[in-house]
Each structure stands twice: as C-alpha cells, then as structure tokens.
Symmetry: D3
Subunit: 230 residues, 6 copies
C-alpha cells in the first residue's frame, strides 16, 4: 500500500513524512509531493484559494496511490480532489474532528493565529460537528515559526489546551496545524502534569494518515453521489 501526502504550499516542509513513516503500518509506503507554485504557508482564505490549482495537480500526479492525505488543517482542496481521483482522499481537519467526536463529548482546536480561527470554526460547521466544538483558541505563532522554537510552541499549545479544558469545557484537544506534527504527546503530558489526565490530544496529520491506512485497507472511497465530478 502507498499513501501519498500532498503539501499544499511551497514551504520547505517535508509534510511530516518522517513522522508518518515512523508510524506507518508494515508494508505501507509513504510518498510526498508539494505544489509547484502557490502560497508559502496557509494562514488565510486567500492562501487556501491560491493553493487549490496546484493541490489538484499534485493529487492528479499522485498516480496509483492507495490514498492521498492533504497536509494542511484547512483541508484545502479536499472536496474537489475527491472529484479528481476515484480513490480515497482524506484531510486532517475532517479526520481528526470526527475521531475527537468519537472519543469525547466535545473538543477544542488550537489554531496558529487569530486569522485561522473562523476558518476552523467554519470547517466544523461544514462537517456537521459544530455542536461538538467548544472553542478554537489561537496560540499566536505563525506557521513558519512553529519549527523555530519547539519549546515555545509546546508551551503555548499546553497553555491553550489547559484553558480549553478548564474554561471552554473541551474533553479532547485537536492540534490546529499540520506543522504541529509530533507535539501531541508533549501537550498531553503537560495536561496530565497539570492535573488533567486522560485528555486525548490529536495530531491531525497523523490521525488522517492512520485513518487513510484503515479505510484504504477496506477499499472504502468517497461517495460518487456526493462527489460526482465531471
């Protein structure tokens, strides 16, 4: 089985391929591509819009991959991509919000910037999960700075997660950017240390990837009634 990750921006990011390869099931190959022209990161609706043609081209170029995962919490191009290829395409926001809803009565998402808060709220509405979303809290760190100081990112995520649980009633936490890959365990540990054990913290890219493995294994694909395509 091959699962292909498409990074919908032109950053140097490797799309979490290393992390995904580390958790892939035996026999699952991870491949990766990034769009050739478009935004450097996705922090606004304009970034998303400009990323779409390149994303769909990358999806089309992914060939006979068993599943495609889009490497951005805005799920840019998720729905048109399902018209482009007949196979499975998953997005981190949709996958992680549904899994959070399975494991907990409610969840909050931790966004990079204030500007992405309404975008994530709208995704929850589109996916029919608005009643489960308690809040979207911003940590105030741009995508391209997440890597610079991981300690600062973990601190900010942990503080926001704590506030989401204590003040907003969140029972689970979804990290709100695929650039936060690898941070989930540290945030969960911080919550535990703060007296809040057993709060699931979901890494959206990793969650989408493992779901892609599972659903591809079952031969499940998006509905042609919902995504009829051309």
């Amino acid at each position: 089985m091959r699962i292909h990750v498409v990074t919908p921006c032109v950053s140097e990011s490797l799309g979490g391929v290393e992390e995904l390869a580390a958790i892939a099931s035996p026999g699952v190959e991870v491949t990766h591509s990034r769009i050739e022209s478009g935004p450097a990161s996705i922090e606004t609706r304009v970034d998303e819009a400009l990323a779409l043609p390149g994303t769909l081209a990358a999806v089309r170029a992914a060939g006979d991959a068993d599943a495609i995962v889009i490497d951005c919490m805005g799920d840019p191009g998720l729905e048109p991509a399902r018209e482009v290829v007949p196979g499975l395409v998953l997005g981190p926001a949709q996958a992680s919000m549904h899994v959070a809803a399975m494991l907990a009565q409610s969840f909050s998402v931790l966004a990079v910037l204030d500007a992405t808060v309404p975008m994530i709220e709208e995704l929850a509405l589109r996916y029919g999960l608005a009643s489960k979303l308690r809040s979207v809290r911003s940590i105030g760190i741009p995508v391209l700075e997440l890597e610079d100081d991981r300690g600062r990112m973990i601190d900010a995520l942990s503080a926001a997660a704590l506030a989401a649980v204590e003040h907003d009633g969140a029972h689970a936490i979804v990290l709100g950017c695929t650039g936060m890959v690898g941070a989930a365990d540290a945030v969960a540990a911080r919550l535990d240390a703060a007296g809040l054990p057993g709060i699931p913290v979901l890494d959206p890219l990793v969650t989408a990837f493992k779901l892609a493995e599972a659903l591809a294994d079952l031969g499940l694909r998006p509905s042609r009634r919902t995504y009829p395509g051309p």
Copy 2:
C-alpha cells in the same frame, strides 16, 4: 455608486450586465469583468477550485468599486475575496438564500445538473440555512446550454418548481444558476397558472445585485473578525 460583477469563468457570458443595468437604481453604474483563464463554466467542485485564482485577481482589479458581486451560484471565492478587498463582496447563493428565508418559511433551489446538487446543499449548511432548505432539484441542463433554448429552460424550471412546492414543501424557489437570469418572472407565472400563486421565485444574481446596492449605500462591509485577511 459603481457595482462590479465578476464572472468566474471564461465563457462568453456578459454576467447579466444588461439585466442588472436595467434594474439598477438611478446613479448606479454596473461594470463587469471575467477571469482571464480558468473553467468555461462552473459545474463541479474542480471548476470552482480552478476559478479561484482568477476570481481573486479580478476582484483585486475591480479597484474602487463600491461593491462586488460574484456571478455564479456556487459563490466561488466569496470568502477569500472578502480578505482581498476591504469593501463589500456578495454572492448570489448567500444573498438569495437569506432573502428567501426572510420571505418564506422554507425554500428549494433548482440546480442545473445533478452534480451541483450536493454543492448547493453544502452552501445552505455553511450559511446556517440548512433547516430552511427543503430540496435541491436538478433540471438536467448544462450551464452552457441554458441560453440555447430558453423555452426548454423555462419548462424545466417550472416543472421542478412545481414539484418542489407540491412534494418537498417549498414555500419559495431560488433559481440555482446565474445563467438563469431573467427567468424568475416566467417561472412564477407558471406556478400561478398551475394554481400556486404567490410563490416568490428569486433570481440569485439580481437579488445579490440589489442587496449590494442597499448594503453599499449603508456603508456596510464584511466583518474583519470573520475575514481578517493577511
């Protein structure tokens, strides 16, 4: 006041400029542009995606227009466009669905093709109006054939409108493509002749245009909290 209409495809369509000029309030100028490259019409999510970069460029190029109206029932680019310019941007789907909800307890939309049905249903969900939407019925005529035989289009719309009222419980009808511009009165007359008088039939482009006039006159613009932009 100048209201600019952006047609998000490369068809020969004039974006209803003639019809809009005919109903514009005194002193309101209507200008029009169409994207320079992109799809010939918008009937799939892929068409929408590929139309976005050109649409945003056209919005940016519209300069000091008092309002911008997007000439497509999918409202492609409506939200990112509100990040691109500080002024008012409206879309036909959003405007006509809200007006229908003001005038009637429920409404149905008449789509061009089966493929656009789930796209319109999703718009109603995103706009928070899913509980008012009784059905989306398709007339089975591609966008680019709408002009070819207006009699056939009116027949098909009237039959679908009748079914929506009688079987789906619609109290108002929204035409589901801006290419249907000018057909609303004829459809309403047919409903009346069929014993169903007083059913509002909304032309989405025209409705968005008049709303743009009204809201621009009041100086209202999209919220910077919802559309913070770069």
Copy 3:
C-alpha cells in the same frame, strides 16, 4: 416608489422618517403613520400584544405603498401584516439579523433593557439564526429615555458592543431598538478606536428600509404558502 413606516406605539417618535428620507434612493418617498391607541413604547410581550390590532390597522391603511417597514425591533405584527396586505412587509429584527449573518460568522444584539433580552433571543430562534447569535446584552436604558441623552446611549452601546466582541465572540453588532437610529456609525467608530476595526454595526430600521427598497424594486413579496391569510 413609496415605502411606508408604521410605528407600533403611540409615542411622539417620528419613526426615523428623517433619517430614512436622508438615505432613501432617488425617487423613493417615505411616509409614516403611528398606531392610534396602544402602548407608549414596546418593552414587554404585553406591549407587543397590545400593539398588534393598531399595527394591523395601520398596515391596512397604508394603501398602495410599495413596501411597509415596522418601526420596532420586536417585529410586532410582521407575520400577520403579511396576511393583511399582499405586498412586501419587513421588520427590523429579521432584516438586520439576516444581513448580519451574511456579513459575519456571528453577531450580538444590544437591547434596551433586560426585559427585552429573552424576546430578542426568541426572535433569533424563530428566524432560524440562533446558531449565529452569540449574545443579547442590555444597556439598561428604557426606550423613551434613549433620546434624552444621546451621549449616554452611545457610551452604553459602545461598552456593550466591546464586551460582545471581546467576551462573547460577536463578529458583528446589531443595535436592538429602532429608537437607536443614527447611532451605528458612532458605535463602530468607538470599536475602531478601541482596537477593533471593521466590525459591522447594523442599525436595524435603516437596514430594513434599504432592504425594502431593494426587494420592492425586484417585485419580491412574502410567500402565500407561508402567509396564506384569510
């Protein structure tokens, strides 16, 4: 075109006719009447109930007006008025809540008194917009004192608007009484000065009036299926 404003109480209010005339489109005449007997202002459900017979009489007496606007944020008589006359009737609450929902992801309403808070919350529910309403905040000034000290009113509205944005997550503000006519720009300026630029502040009477112009121009009227009348 003539748009008629009905004030559903016996106060000396001129129903904002001056303000409306100032923003009316060229060729639009504004006329006004008030009920002959009934409450002095509308601050309770009893006030609303007692205003209804007079309001319907005034609607009927408005003759061949192209549209009727009810001059009260409770939209008293809006629905029965649509049974009384075949033409367009709009209410400030319905019109401004829908416009707010078009321009922003969420909104709050600023009420005169605590007693009107549940009434406005119920209107949002009836109009299908409860999921967009973040809060109704009261400024604690009775309707009949709004005019006495406009500075105090602007101060109170601005403080409540600020709280609604910062604490309740409102992305737009709707003034909650037609007696606040003319205050929207000042409140928006205060929000801007407080570091919250670009928050739409809607004057409900003015919004309903401009919508009435737009929809009357299109010949749109309430659905006979929803308002079948006698």
Copy 4:
C-alpha cells in the same frame, strides 16, 4: 384548586369545560371565560393578533385561579399572559408537543386547514421541538364546522393520522385544534383497527389541562427571567 380556561375567540364554544370537568382531579374546579370582542375563530395569524388584547384582559380577570389554560392550539397570548399574571399559564400546543416528545421519538400534528399548517410548524420551532415534528397535515375542515358533523371530523382525522404514521414516520399524533376535544380516543381506535396499535393520540386542550393541575399542585410557575414583565 381552580383552573380557568380562556377561549380567545367570541364563538359559542364552551371551551371544552364539560370535557375538562369530567376528567378533572377531585377538588379541582374548572371555570371558563371567553374574550368579549375579537375573532369568531382562530385560523390565521390575523385572527391570533386580534385576539390578544381580549385574551390578556380575560387572563387578568381570571383573578386568583391556580392556573390558566388558553383554549386554542395556536397558544395565542401564552407568552404575554405569563407577564400579566404571576401564576401558571399553559397552552395546548406547547403542552401537547412536549408530552408527545416524552412518549414518542416523533410526532405529527393534524391541523384544521392548510392556512394553519405554517403556524403550527413555527410553534414547534419556537418550542425547540422542530426535530421531533414529522409533519403537519391538514384535514380541510374549518374550526366552526368541526362540531357540525363529528363523524366526518373523525374520518378525516383518522385518515390523516394514518398517513402521518405510514408516510411521514410519526410515532405519535397531536390533534391540531382545541375544537377537536373528545376525538382522541376514536382516532386511536381507528389507528388500532388499521393495524397500528399503540400510537398515542393527544388531545391538546385536555393534555394542557392535566399538566396545569400537576404543575399547579407543585407550585411551579413560569420563569421571571424568561417573562420579566413590566
């Protein structure tokens, strides 16, 4: 204990007092009044509006009744009446829809005329029970003719109930006019005979009355936060 029934129209109806007296608990007195001027029956929103002043006057005149029940399925004046008197006021629609929701997963209401269908649908929305309402079906008999031929009424109600269960998925039936008092058992028997046993059929006036007994006995009254009054 005394429970007072207010008939909000000037018809000769006795407000079901006989039927209510027959099922009243020991020690419960039933009194009745009707409005002095207003509509002859309530079949439109205008009828409801014109009934309100008289209804509130009758509520005020009911004196020290332990509870007041409004004798109309539109619950006209229910909310302002709760501002007029400090005690318990109940309406047949609210009471019977809530009881139906307790006993069954879903319900349908059987209305007198098409014109009252949207009014009842709106009540379900206001009461927060829209998701339980499967349909409102009309039997096409005006209120004032219900008494004329009870056989015809029972036939029409039974046919509509059968259709609501079989086609709309209703698990319970609510009669949609207080003028149908006494018909519930006959309709339930017809459903049983048609192979649909165990479908609750609720008489709304009687249900509201017994609920009034129960809640008055507990000293429960409407919330002053929801109905603050003057």
Copy 5:
C-alpha cells in the same frame, strides 16, 4: 390509581415515597420497590448498566400499576422498561427537563459529582433539549452523603443555582439527583433572597410523579412505534 416507584439501586433509600405520598392527588396510591442486587448508588455509567436487569425485573414485578416512575436522574432503564410493560413509564430527567423547557427559555441542571455531568448532558441531547440546556454544574457531594447534612446540600445547591443563573444564563434550575428530593423550595427561596425571584426550581422525582398522575389519568402511554418491544 396506583403509581409505583422503582429505585434502581440497593441503597436504603425509600425512593421519596413519603414526599410523593404527601403530594399525591386524592385517590392515588404510591407503592415502591428497589432492585434486589446491583449498585449502591448511581454515579457512573457502569452503575447504570449494572442496575438495568434489576430495574427491568422490578418494573415487570410492579404488576398492574397505572404508572411507573424510575427513581434516578439518569433515567436508567426508562426506554427498555417501556418495552417490558405496556403502560406508562416516566423518568425524572426526561420529565423535569421537558417541564423546565415549558416554563423557561433555558435551564441548568445541578449534578452531584463531576462524573455525572457528561451523563446528564447526554440525556439532554437524547431528549432533543440540548439547545435549552445552559450548563450542568456539580456540587461535589456523593449521592450517599446528600442525606447526611442537608444544610450543606442546600448551601451547595443554592450556590450552584446562583452561578447557573448569573453566569450561564439559566432561567430555570433542575435538581440533578432524586436524592435531592424536598430541596427545591429551599433553593428557590435562596435565589429569591439573593435578588433572583421567580426562578423555577424543579425537583425531578416529584415532577415525574405528578406528570405520571396526569398522563395516566389521560390514559396516555409510550408509543409502540418508538418502543416496539419483543
């Protein structure tokens, strides 16, 4: 008429029989049983699960009772019990939440422990009343200690009720454990003394009992379509 109360745990509790007998209508007999083996109290989902077989046995053994009331705010076994006997079965949570929704725009529930908060939130969702529920606040006293120090319980309930009204927007209060029987009036008095008069405080067991009297008197029973049983 005989109404039978089933206590779904093996505690020494008398199921509020004394309190219920004191408020029963003339001619209504109250009988009581408790399960023979199972949990000592119900504070977790496991407690509820283990209580079900005994509860259904007790329901079956209740014989020809006119109605059965389950003596626990989790309504354990309410739905299967309606399959076991043909007659009326009510639960305190369902009955009191619906009555609260009739009397007020919104309500909060006061739970014994944090652990029962999500269970009560889920009940509101299942009953279709989630939009009315403002909060579930815990008082931090286990069920079996409620009786030990009633003063402490009243203090804790009053403080939580005050917070629910002032901070969460509750317009009514529902006590969240049938072991709190008899406390409603004291809590309401405390709210009144704190400047919040007229807030209904519902005792769930007593509310369910009086509703059972009322509905049994009307011969109403759960729908066989919803509870078809074997």
Copy 6:
C-alpha cells in the same frame, strides 16, 4: 497488537473473528469472547439492557488488549465499557456512522427488523450525526436468520440500499447489524449493477475493527473527562 472482540449475546456467533483476522494488519492478533449469560441476540432495548452486565464483565476480562470492539450495531455497553478499562473501546455504530459522514454528505442504515429502527435513529442522535442520517430501512430478517440464507439477505439488503439512495437521498449505506459481516461488497456490486456506482457500503464491525487498529496504533483513548468512571 491485540484487538479483542466482545460479542454481547450468547449466540454461537464467532463475532466475525475469521473475517477480521483476514483483514487485520500484519502483527495484529484478534481475540474473541462472548458473554456468559444474557440474550441470544440483540433486537430490542430489553436485549441490550440484559446484555450489559455480561458485556462489562467480558470487557474487564479482556485484560491487556490494545483495543476492544463490541460486536453489535447497538453499541451496547460502549460508554460504560470506557469507564471499566482505561484503553480504547469502539463500537460498530459509532465508528461506521462517523466514517460514512467523512466519505459522504449523507447515509442510510439498513436494520434487521422494524423494532431496531428507532434504536438506530437514537444512536445517530446521540452521536451528533442525526443531520447526516437520511433513513433507517428494515429488511425484515431476524438476526439469527441472517446466516441461514445469505442470498436472501443480500437481496433484501440490496433492495433496501437501492431505495435508500433513490428515495431517501442516501449517499452512503451502513449495514445495520454486525451479523451482516461480509455482505458489503456484494451490496455495493448490486448498486453498481443497478446504475448507482460509487456508493460506499460500510460493514460496521469491520470498520470499527480497522479504526481500532489505527487509533490504538496512535495511542488514542477515550477522554477521561467524558468517561470519568469511578
């Protein structure tokens, strides 16, 4: 990794262990147990209730399994089981409804008997997915007869799936009993042959199993805030 399947009835069923072993990822062991006393199959709410103590005992006895899957579409004991063990517990209904909602705009479930229809509808409500559920259709074959004549089962499922897509607007199909394991592909092929290609047909047990693999691999567990336990 070891995934343990608990069959919550005393039937001879092997809980689909063979089918699950065939699709398990490399290195995943499948173990199975069934309750020692309880119902022979689960077709009513009473069956579910009586299955709970045994199910929780089996969950507790599953020891150090990495995940537990409950082998029944009613998800009996899913929530209390999450209080009993700290690890991952999944149910077929919850897992398959969420996956269906990820792959399609809407879905229908195919139940064994009319009696289970309201139970499945209620699960969709509890899981927050009621707006995605178009219908639950019954095939009229008891659980214990499913195995007897697989041809008859496939025929009945295919006919119901076809009706759900064509008449109810379903975009995906969820099989409504874990006893239908292995039938998904055949039903999808029938839909394809009938002119409806590309409709996902989900086998709920298999879907829950693969999700359990994926989530266990990520170390995700149910939230302790939602399932606090003793």
